[in-house]
Structure formats: structure tokens, C-alpha cells
Symmetry: C2
Subunit: 407 residues, 2 copies
């Protein structure tokens, strides 16, 4: 497996386009379209929030594997969540518009929205945007990048990535784009990630790989603990790589899963590191936990704490807050067995061991905590399971961005 | 029942003192002592954090009702949490010092600390402080207020309250002090509350009343979702009111419980409204839920959301965030049945009904959301249970206070 250039247009047979539709934002792109002429197998994982946006309800059905999929149409600015019957009608109208212009069935069109909740969609702008994008669809890498830019809300940079791997003697590709920033606590502002691949794989295995990988990557990040109404990760596989269809969990499946994991992990890290107002990526690695589930719970509890996040922002080795967050996670453990250190490219500093705070040089600790990625290494000394979670610091800018988001 | 002046010295037979011991802070009081010559029945509820501070371990045993209690000694500046064997030894030394100077048994002394976690206690300063306070013990209301001031960390004002009620034909009193501010998400920087009463009541009923009331008050507030290692609510009852001991759940018990609830609710509201960096008290009232537990979970989910908190700070009626936080609470409900409005002394504005966003005047909504207390009224239309939770907004100052708390 190797990393290659590009994003959603890296895989064979996928085209993309983006447009300034004027849905809510002015003077920037706010719509994207991804299209494969070859029919795709589609899988998806969606928010577990009880309040689900209209597009999530639409997509869940389509990703169940009954129909082939050809396109994803997405917009930023308005989330189409808490919009009732009217919001659901707009999903249908959006799919019909794409269907008419691309000549594909209405139920082969996936829809994704991100932005303000509780505001009705500007459907005329959406239709206008689709009309602009369809004739501009291109398989260039730039077209993929344009799509990644169009879906941004408060993201400070676009996110995309692509890798190449082997299956059945053929070279296959996976590409992805994503947006994140705020209301990021996936199980789901919105986390959206669209993945395209030219591998040929059954719907069941595609869904299985996506669920497993999402659980270890997207579901292990948090910006602010708020799980969105719109979170969606969708993967389209069009089979154009020409490998014989992956139907069982052999070497080809492993290669695909590894490639998908690599992409989703890096994208998840990008999302966490570009959380609203973030100045640093905060990684928590819990090792030697008694169970995998406990390792996950402990790691997530630390990245979700407002106080650990503020401590990273202040470059302050106030490690008691990390122990405190481990302690209220719901996992039972012996605090006196925990060994805690903080690491970064600037070095490593041991903070807590054998139940006692350790002496450390404050200036050195500040330097360790002042890098772009700060890692808390937590050894539970209870077993052999591990997990990693990714978050970010809590800054003035997070508050600023969210105090008046709608304006 | 009526509200009276004072705090922990309002009840008969309780004295208090405070001192500048120089434990960590400079130029301010940082220790308090509460004392009753008459032996007290004591009850307590403590943090459910797995990482428990040394004083919590000490107090839990003493509040089990085996020994009578005479005193509470408290300090701010250092939390004595994550301090291992050495930290536990300091609890014992503190109790011995109080025991020697007051002539009461060592196991009749409760201890409470709040401040930085993972830093060893300055035990010489603690002993010095006890030496200053013992000769200054006074039953004046000012002495109670002084104690409430000494326990503050990042609190912007001290918190105390007292009420009077009838039991067995006698007038009884309850007084309390508390500190809160950050790391406030009680189930427990620390929430400490000390309650004194001159009622005569059995240990079992005192503990029962405290647990029930704490569950409806202290456990329904959150400043930042971080449950401290030190949270403790302790109540001392010395029986000096002269009522015949409350031994069953009759009218006297009801009067006591109502008085305790009134105090704890108001103290809890003070703690939430004075959360670190807070500019407003954010109250969420959920009604017509299917179960009490679900009503509680829904209300707490909304006050704990960084995004609803930032919205209150920005006076922005971005109500989708409230629905979003209800949606990820874990409670199953039909979003289309929810009716949501925001209220304050400036009026009421309906935001969401029948699954649809409601039209509202933005200027009026901003005015409603700009008051010192902002209330979200959430009607689930599922049943008849209700719950209230109290939080605060999320401001730049929360980040500022916590980015470099140890300095």
C-alpha cells in the first residue's frame, strides 16, 4: 500500500465538481458533486443522534445495498436538520434534479448537508448549483480538491487523501474527502467524509470494513463532545480497478481494509487537529488496559475533557486533569498503577507513577506541550489492550466561532 | 420554612473560623474550620470519580455513621488528589492537629481540600492555619461568611445560605456554604458544600435525605462536564434545636428534607451561575418526559453541551443545538413531538414545534437570551415526568482561567 496524490477523484472512474450556489454563504463554493458512470456498491455509517438530518434518513436507505449508487451531492451552509416534512421533500427534489441531469435513477443519488440546524434549505440555489456542476464533472485531481473545499464550514483547510493497494493482482485506489471542525464527536457542525474506491467488493464486506474502520478512526475523535445530526461517512466502490470481486475475508480484503484504515485514520487526525479554534492535535494513547472497550472509553474521556483541552492550549502540564478524566470515564481501575507521560517531537516527560506525582522540569514540560501534536501516553498496567483517541485543544477561538455561529 | 440570614453558623451550636495559612495562594484566606461542641451525626455524598482525593477517602469512612463528628477543616489551593501515601498521611496529620487543639477525637474531624491536583500538601502551613483558627472560632454570622470566602478558588463570590423550619414543635435551622467554579459536574476545580443543622435526626435519615436532595440539586449542575476528584457534600446535625430525634419519615422528616432541598437547590444554582468565566445561569427544564431518569438525562445533556453553552454566551437562539444535544443524550424520543422555547425575565420565544422551526423575531430572541438567567423549556410530549438542570455559558474567560490554572 502506498499514499498517492489526490482525493475522491484518485480512484478510476470517479469524477467531481463544485460550485458557488449561494445557499447561505456568499463568495465561496458551497456545493459538490461526486459521480461514477459505473454503478457503485455503497456503504455508510451515520450519526447515532436520535435527531437525524433529512439527508441522513435519505442515505441510510440507499446505503442498505438494494440499489447501485452513482452520485453524492453535498452542500455546506445549511444542515437540513430539524426541518420536518419540508426538509425531507427537499432531499427528494435534490435527488430528482441530479437524476434528470445525469440520467441515473433517483435512488442512486446520496445527499449530504452541513451547516446551521433548524433552517430550511434554499432549494432553488441547490438546483442552480447542480445545474452548474453536472457539465463541469472532471476526473482531474483538482476537481476532487475543489469538492473538498466546497464542503468546508469553519474548517481552516480542506481534507483529502488517497492510497493505492493490491487486490487480485490489480492495482486499486481509495480516495477520500472530509469536513469537520465543530459539533464533532462522531459515533458522528458535522463530520462528513466521502470515500471513493475502484475496488470490486461485495456490499456486505464493504459495509463491514467501513464499520470496523470508522469505529477505530472517526469514532475515536472529538472536538467538542457534541455529536452532530448529520454525521455521515459514505464509501462508493465502482469496481473499475478490474480485480475479481472481493467476496470473502482473505488477503485482498485485508489489503482493502488496511488501505481504508490508513485513509480514515489520517483523515480523522486531520479533522481533530483542525477542530474549531484548535492550535494543536491532542492524541491520547491508552495501553495495557484490561479490555479494548475500556481502553477506548478511557482515551475518549481524556480527549473530551474541557480541562485537559484548556491545559493543552495553555501548554501546562497540569496532569491531574488527565487522571481526573480517566477517573470519571466509568472504567474501574487502580489509580496507583497508572503511569502517565506526555510526549511530542520535543521529547517526553514522566508525570505520574506509583500513585505519586513525579518531579519534572517545568520549562521542558512546557516545550513538550507546545508542539503541533501533543501525546498523552497512559499505561494502565491492567492487561494488554490499547486504543488511541484524537482531539484538540480548547481556545478562545472555539468560543468566538460558536458564540454567534449563525451570523 | 423561611430563609434566614447567614450560613454555616446560623444553626445553633456551630462556630466557624478562617485563616490565611499561605498553603499556595498569597494574600488571601485559604483555610476554614467549622466546629460544634455538641457531637454531630454526619452524612456525606462524595465524588464517584475512580480517582478520589485523599480527604474523600478519609471522610467517607467517618461519614458512615460509626463515630460522632465535631469539625470540618478545609483548605483551598491544593486538592490533595493523586498524592499517594504521602497525601493520605497529611490527612491524618491534619486531623491529629485539630484533635489536639480542640480536644476532640481524631476520627471526629472531617477534611476537605480543593485546588491543584497532583501537588503535595503544604502540611506545615495547614498546621499553622489550624493554630490560628482554633482560638478564633465564633458563632457570629461573619465567621460563617469568612469560612465561605476562605474556600473559594476561581469562584467570583462566596456562597452561603440558611433557612429555618419546624420539627417536633421546635424551630430548627440549616445553614450551608459551598464553593464551585470549574471541574464542576458533580456526581461530584471541586464542588465542596458543608451543611450544618441543629436538628436532631438519625444518621440513616440524614444520609437518606442528603442523597436524595443532592441527586436533585448538586448532581443536576455542570460547569464543564469534568467531575472532580474531590467533590464532597457533608452535613453535620448536632441536635441543639432540641426537637425529639427524627427517626421516621413523618412530617418532621418532610420539613427537614424540604428545607435541605431549598438550601441545596439555591446553592447549586449559585454554583452553576458562578461557573468559571460564566456570564449567565443556563437553566434547562424538561417536562412531560416518559421517565424521571430520562428527564434528568435530557436536561443534563443540554447544559453540558459546549455548543449550547457558547450559544448562550453569544445570546444566539441557535436552537438546533439544543435539539442536537437532546438527540445524543441516549434517550429515545420522537423529535417531531418536541416543543422548545426559551424564556427569561425579558419574555418567552417559541422556537420549534411539530418538527418544524418556528418563525421568530431575532431581536426579541436576542433580548430574551441576554438576561442573567436563561431558561430552555423543553416539552417532550411523551409522559408526565420532569427535571431541571443548571449550567452556565462558555466564555473566553473559561479558557483563559483554565489554560494556565496552576500559575
Amino acid at each position: 500500500m502506498k499514499i498517492i496524490e489526490g482525493g475522491v477523484t484518485a480512484a478510476k472512474g470517479f469524477k467531481a465538481a463544485s460550485a458557488e450556489a449561494g445557499i447561505k454563504y456568499k463568495g465561496r463554493k458551497d456545493m459538490l458533486l461526486i459521480y461514477s458512470e459505473s454503478p457503485c456498491t455503497a456503504a455508510g455509517v451515520f450519526t447515532s443522534n436520535v435527531v437525524k438530518a433529512a439527508p441522513v434518513l435519505w442515505d441510510r436507505e440507499i446505503c442498505s445495498g438494494i440499489h447501485p449508487v452513482h452520485a453524492i451531492v453535498g452542500n455546506s451552509g445549511i444542515a437540513n436538520a430539524c426541518t420536518g416534512e419540508e426538509g425531507r421533500k427537499y432531499c427528494s427534489e435534490t435527488a430528482v434534479e441530479v437524476s434528470n441531469l445525469l440520467g441515473v435513477p433517483e435512488n442512486s443519488v446520496l445527499i449530504a448537508s452541513t451547516g446551521v440546524i433548524g433552517m430550511q434549505m434554499n432549494i432553488e440555489a441547490v438546483k442552480k448549483g447542480i445545474g452548474i456542476m453536472v457539465p463541469e464533472l472532471s476526473d482531474s485531481l483538482e476537481a476532487g480538491t475543489g469538492a473538498a473545499e466546497a464542503i468546508m464550514t469553519t474548517d481552516t483547510h480542506s481534507k483529502e487523501m488517497a492510497v493505492e493497494f493490491e487486490a487480485g493482482g490489480k492495482t486499486c485506489r481509495i480516495g477520500a474527502l472530509a469536513k469537520g471542525s465543530g459539533m464533532i464527536h462522531p459515533n458522528m457542525c458535522t463530520m462528513l467524509s466521502f470515500v471513493t474506491t475502484d475496488v470490486s467488493i461485495s456490499h456486505d464486506l464493504l459495509q463491514k470494513a467501513l464499520r470496523k474502520v470508522a469505529n477505530e478512526t472517526y469514532n475515536m475523535i472529538s472536538v467538542d463532545g457534541d455529536m452532530s445530526t448529520n454525521d455521515s461517512v459514505m464509501v462508493l466502490a465502482n469496481g473499475e480497478a478490474g480485480n475479481s470481486e472481493i467476496l470473502e475475508e482473505g488477503q485482498d480484503y485485508k489489503n482493502f481494509e488496511e488501505a481504508l484504515y490508513t485513509i480514515c485514520k489520517e483523515i480523522a487526525r486531520m479533522l481533530a487537529g483542525d477542530g474549531e479554534g484548535a492550535t494543536a492535535l491532542f492524541t491520547v494513547h491508552v495501553k495495557n488496559a484490561d479490555t479494548k472497550e475500556n481502553a477506548r472509553t478511557l482515551a475518549k474521556s481524556v480527549i473530551c475533557s474541557s480541562l485537559t483541552k484548556a491545559m493543552i492550549y495553555g501548554h501546562d502540564a497540569n496532569f491531574g486533569r488527565i487522571l481526573c478524566a480517566l477517573g470519571y470515564s466509568g472504567v474501574v481501575f487502580d489509580p496507583e498503577k497508572v503511569v502517565l507521560s506526555m510526549e511530542s517531537t520535543a521529547g517526553s516527560v514522566l508525570l505520574f507513577k506509583n500513585g505519586d506525582p513525579q518531579k519534572f522540569d517545568e520549562d521542558y514540560a512546557t516545550k513538550v506541550l507546545s508542539q503541533k501534536e501533543v501525546i498523552a501516553e497512559v499505561d494502565m498496567n491492567m492487561g494488554s489492550e490499547e486504543a488511541t483517541a484524537w482531539g484538540c485543544d480548547l481556545s478562545y477561538d472555539y468560543v468566538k466561532i460558536n458564540a454567534d455561529y449563525r451570523s
